[in-house]
Symmetry: C2
Subunit: 311 residues, 2 copies
């Protein structure tokens, strides 16, 4: 891994992504006692940072591979990201989703011309279906977070942030499957000036926190959190990066997530997913450690079901 690989990735995907805005709130700064810059990837194409990694992974395929298409299993933002990324690049995208996924998510995939395959909802069913498509279509499987091209792509959000705010002391990101935090940690290493990356994670799905403690990948036994984007597990490609480059992971309660979500919606006037609020909640919980620091927070996505708000 070198800095150049990161720069090449960013140049490659630039025509297909937005360089999203950075916004501030005086009130939140005052509340935390620090200067906070929110990098708004809720305004990213298809509504989440996942567009970055999906696009990079597809673009790294050979022309022969591209003709045969890409496949993933996801019921969340990566399904939409791979569909839209593939559509922009004229590549077929086969998306495996559980039958039980919300209709609005299935429709979003179809709107982006993803070819939907439904299956039962266990991980094994999803993997079997994806493997079947790999065999039958010769399509290339792309994992939502445990793939180096995806990880580097996700890191471009943090790279853009550090290009505009060059002297950040810390960047806070939510931790789910580990792609965003691994990519951000690499971006901070290459493009920051002694900038450290800190993860926010719900107590309810604290596999990354426990994995950092034990030194090996731990699993979640339950996933009872409002931050639905963070239920996925770390992988063997992103975990070594996280172990080496992430400063610390801070766990937060469900109530802290909801309070931070409300703060973002009310003060920044933006719609974002509960997962994003986990990063701010982590900072607020341990704010005494970050007084007067310059801090970036990555707002990871904005695809929310407005019928299911916690307010």
């Amino acid at each position: 891994m070198t800095k150049d690989i990161f720069i090449e990735c960013h140049e490659r995907i630039k025509p297909f992504i937005h360089n999203t805005p950075i916004i501030k709130s005086e009130l939140i700064d005052k509340l935390v006692g620090a200067k906070i810059y929110f990098k708004c990837d809720n305004f990213q194409k298809m509504g989440a940072f996942k567009m970055r990694g999906a696009t990079n992974a597809i673009m790294q395929l050979s022309n022969t591979e591209k003709r045969k298409g890409v496949v993933t299993h996801s019921s969340g933002n990566f399904a939409q990201a791979l569909s839209l990324g593939a559509k922009s690049l004229n590549v077929p995208a086969y998306i495996v989703m559980p039958e039980s996924a919300a209709d609005v998510k299935k429709e979003a995939v179809k709107n982006y011309k993803g070819i939907l395959f439904e299956c039962k909802s266990t991980l094994k069913d999803r993997e079997d279906k994806a493997n079947e498509i790999v065999r039958e279509k010769g399509a290339c499987f792309i994992h939502p977070s445990n793939d180096l091209n995806v990880i580097i792509g996700q890191g471009t959000a943090c790279k853009e942030l550090l290009e505009k705010k060059t002297d950040l002391d810390f960047v806070f990101v939510p931790v789910g499957g580990g792609g965003l935090i691994a990519g951000s940690a690499l971006a901070a290493k290459y493009f920051g000036k002694n900038c450290k990356v800190i993860g926010g994670e719900p107590f309810e799905v604290d596999d990354a926190y426990r994995s950092l403690k034990s030194g090996k990948i731990e699993t979640n036994l339950s996933t009872n959190t409002i931050a639905d984007g963070l239920k996925t597990q770390l992988g063997d490609i992103n975990f070594p990066i996280i172990k080496k480059h992430v400063e610390r992971i801070i766990r937060v309660t469900e109530n802290e997530i909801i309070l931070s979500l409300r703060l973002i919606w009310e003060r920044l006037k933006i719609v974002c997913e509960p997962s994003c609020a986990v990063a701010l909640a982590a900072l607020i919980r341990e704010k005494k450690d970050f007084r007067n620091k310059k801090i970036g927070i990555i707002i990871s996505g904005g695809n929310v079901d407005l019928s299911k708000l916690p307010f």
Copy 2:
């Protein structure tokens, strides 16, 4: 009224307001069949366009008047706008609010150093209290919408929009007290290239629609709308401007307002007030008349009670 007065107003208030961003949604463009530019004054200081007019009105006072302070009665955004505008200019602001107003609104005024006076909730009680303060403190009364300095200030949102998007065919704005639409109509006349201003108004409070029909100011007998910012009445200063310069007012149902509000939140990923959605709802209702046109929509404010969402 001349173009120069508008330009001077804008230069005067620029240090105290944000030039708010303009955003787009491909999906909403496709749905309407037009190119739509959303001018986001939900990101304005204190969260609404009212900051513009309040600041301009205060700055037009003499130093003697400024020392004695300003007074208004409002339970909405103008109370906060006058408080923050006055605070920035080191002027006392006396704000009359009904006792029944939400605590969060009273707190917001106090946070901006407004001096709160509570009264019973009839219009007569509010006016009596405001008049008493004018007499006792020598403070200057500033009306939230029926004041030429306020009207011109509000029009700077449309001016900024037309400076960035010079060839708009139409600008849609919500109609409440009439300050924003009167100011926008003047801005379109001075800074647009044959750009017409169209109002959106709920059927439930259609005083402006009926006033344009009859040629005289009509009143609302009930105010049963979710668009709580639009319950106020037209005045004798803004109505003549509206009569002369506004192309048309389109009325919308409560259900259309809620659907448009949802579309803005889901697709633009921004938090805005139901009032803002009235402008988009008006465009969607009559979209056949606006095919392939370039259209601006002013997102008027973002101060929402998240506990009372219609989703």
